[in-house]
Homo-oligomer: 476 residues x 2
């Protein structure tokens, strides 16, 4: 698989040795890995970013472990990258300078699910699937559902502000984080935010930490807002002869006042990938909408009718309604498998995650196709039509095509910016999107952000080489 090499030099051995001694002393050897063979798996995440094998891996179990590790990082001047499940798609958890990886997967306690206050309190290593289950056992609901929901962890979800199909109706992770316990470089622990739904005491530091990709601090406790669990869920699938028809259907639904919980669009290339996985889909279909409706029975039945009308209005080839849970799971399994299915379609793949204003989604699909054709690179796109958020895949076999691929991606990004969209919908900037940040944001805006980073991490040791280009502007 095609990889983007690390942007920073490795960490000098003498500093690593100092850190190793200090960590062994403070945490005990049982929590500190140092053999290359045991550290190797911490060098990667789910993205195309190539990391270095970390020199040391700390398996944190408590807030004190996190504090001690952040203190040691500063004392020994060794870079530190915090990490959960490593399911990120832009390299946020990849240690590009080696050094220490702070693994929080052992901190997996669901501390509280409170029905009265509608909050959950969790440690960063809790797997999202487990939180979903725990909330639903109490008749409650935690909406965010990134594609990696079965393995990803809350700490990473907060760090990357994870989204997911349900975001169209319920919003993203940011919308559910009430409070955070965050430790800064040097070991100061801040409790930000609150347990209440409302609160305006001082600046919204919690919102600043959400989506900061592990560059500002490390989370040890997360307070999340829950909502009552919807009574029922209906799933529909609409097949269309063209992507434009599908987006017409989306507009028609929204015009009818339907707010589906999920509104997933897949283009013809993605349908081919699903067919290749043995999913039976009408051969004439060039686009598909997968629609989840939730609420009480009456509302869902009414919305289902409206969705049907909308699909007819858009000349749908066919509209299927899942009759039971197993049919729903089958429909969704195909969609969830898509990103893996795509991996089998070519030797190399780069996945981009972009957003345009909802009304421009068809233009975005056209732009993707054009960008691919112009440079002779295969593209396919799928994603969250309701949010104008597409995951665009660029596929190629011949390694010599890399420059063409980069040109195609740049062409698409240029279109996205022109359409007043954003270069990252739910995957962050990490390593892979650093070159594009200045396309979307002014030098002054980037400088202000780096100023905040410099304030909280003056030595630049916390997850270095992420979001901002090394060097570049300083704070104004």
């Amino acid at each position: 698989m095609f990889l983007v090499p690390p942007s920073l030099p490795p960490t000098p051995k003498d500093l690593v040795d100092k850190a190793h001694i200090l960590l062994d002393r403070k945490l005990g050897p049982s929590k500190v890995l140092h053999l290359p063979e045991s550290c190797e798996r911490f060098s990667r995440d789910e993205s195309e970013a190539e990391g270095r094998v970390p020199d040391l891996v700390v398996l944190a179990e408590t807030l004190d472990d996190i504090r001690d590790t952040l203190t040691v990082s500063v004392e020994a001047r060794v870079p530190l990258t915090a990490r959960g499940a490593g399911t990120g798609r832009t390299g946020g958890a990849v240690p590009v300078a080696g050094g220490i990886v702070l693994d929080t997967t052992r901190m997996n306690q669901i501390k509280e699910i409170d029905r009265g206050d509608l909050v959950a309190v969790v440690a960063p290593g809790v797997i999202l699937k487990d939180l979903h289950a725990a909330a639903e056992r109490e008749g409650l609901f935690y909406p965010p559902d990134p594609n990696s929901w079965e393995t990803c962890m809350l700490g990473g979800n907060i760090a990357e502000n994870a989204g997911g199909p349900r975001a169209f109706k319920y919003g993203v992770t940011r919308d559910y984080v009430l409070g955070l316990e965050t430790t800064l470089m040097g070991g100061t622990t801040l409790r930000t935010g609150r347990r209440t739904v409302k609160g305006v005491a001082g600046y919204d530091m919690t919102a600043l930490f959400v989506g900061s990709e592990g560059t500002l601090g490390v989370f040890s406790e997360i307070t999340l807002k829950l909502i009552p669990k919807p009574e029922t869920v209906f799933t529909l699938m609409g097949l269309f002869g063209a992507a434009r028809d599908a987006t017409v259907a989306v507009e028609a639904m929204i015009r009818r006042g339907v707010v589906p919980r999920c509104l997933e669009l897949t283009d013809s290339g993605s349908l081919d990938a699903m067919r290749a996985q043995g999913v039976g889909i009408d051969a004439s279909a060039r686009a598909m909408l997968l629609i989840d409706l939730d609420g009480d029975m009456t509302t869902c039945e009414r919305d289902m009718e409206r969705v049907g009308e909308a699909c007819d209005e858009a000349k749908a080839i066919e509209v299927l309604v899942a009759q039971d849970a197993s049919q729903r799971d089958r429909l969704w399994a195909a969609r969830r498998e898509l990103s893996h299915a795509i991996r089998n379609m070519a030797k190399n793949k780069l996945a981009e995650d972009v957003v345009v204003p909802r009304s421009r989604i068809t233009d975005l699909m056209d732009a993707v196709e054009r960008s691919g054709q112009e440079y002779g690179v295969r593209t396919l796109a799928y994603g969250h039509a309701g949010d104008g958020n597409l995951h665009v895949n660029f596929l190629w076999d011949d390694d010599e095509d890399v420059p063409k691929v980069h040109k195609a991606i740049e062409a698409m990004m240029r279109h996205v910016i022109e359409m007043r969209g954003t270069i990252s919908g739910e995957h962050g900037i990490g390593v892979l999107k650093i070159p594009f940040l200045p396309w979307e944001q002014s030098a002054e805006l980037i400088a202000v952000q780096k100023g905040i980073k410099d304030q909280l991490d003056p030595l630049g040791l916390l997850n270095p080489g992420k979001i901002f280009a090394p060097g570049g502007h300083k704070a104004c």
Copy 2:
């Protein structure tokens, strides 16, 4: 009325003169007020904070006006306080050091209401009522509805992160701000956020500016998320023999899966105030719930039944359903008038705005009563029961009672913190709550916030004397 005096000395005359000359030159005299009689009305807002009469008032009409004024403020070393309608309740817009007031009320253009993208783009001086109307003409909806909705302006709403009764179902201002155009001290203009619902490019600077109370920058353009307008609204009023019965009803509704758009609680003192205004309310009632349900007819009718059951379960004295719009308006008019009605009940009044986890709302009401009784101060409370957010009023006639009032407020605040609540639900910290911020937040957390403030406003000229105590910690 009882007033809290300014915390900072006035601005030296020679600096003011320099600023006056520069502003006249850059903006022209027609946009610059300097006569005390014309500046006097800019010294106050709707709070008990006493400001100084500003030395200069700029009536900004364009982004360039804002930029020029912020540049002059730095050049002449004259403090600057931006201001919209001045409806704030904690003194956020009060110029405690005099200097320049930057008035944005002339910047009142609704630039865009986009049905396709579900966004509105407005200037800071747009009155919230006008945005509500413009959105609803397009079949769209902007939920935030602070009590001052008929006069307050969007710029101030963003600066204070305004809430309102609808926050229980729809969230607060923060949840609707997609993007901001903000000018920093010195005149750098940043465009943060986006026009898309999703986006994770860099830190969430937009969220940092929302609720920063005019201490970090001045807004010139605001991009807001809109949602489809609910088909219909039902209003109910439940009367109860005790506050505890009302909160039992609230829990019972939520248990039944009802999420009312508004869920307003008034205690017996507030009911007396309403009775004094000639509102006919059963004499035996000691608490009232005002409930708005919205959605489509079927959902509202079903929810209305469930609310009725919940009120019966809680032994409601009486449940009234508004039969038409005029009855709805009458019910709400009484509630909206409450804060003014309370003014007539005593010579002096201090209004606090606190939040506790929803399950503690009855405990909060008890705590308020106890705090009042302990120090012999009249209290009454009303607010957003669903959010655990109460507006608590302390009333007294004899000016010598001020120390007792402060003791009573401190006692209540202590209870709020003990209940893991927050000292400000929707009114910010401004001037009045500065003493309590350290009760809720650690010195380290306050220091980090002041560090961000220092980075963006190194001379401390932008809305000085707000949120943080003058002096105190520096950035870590």
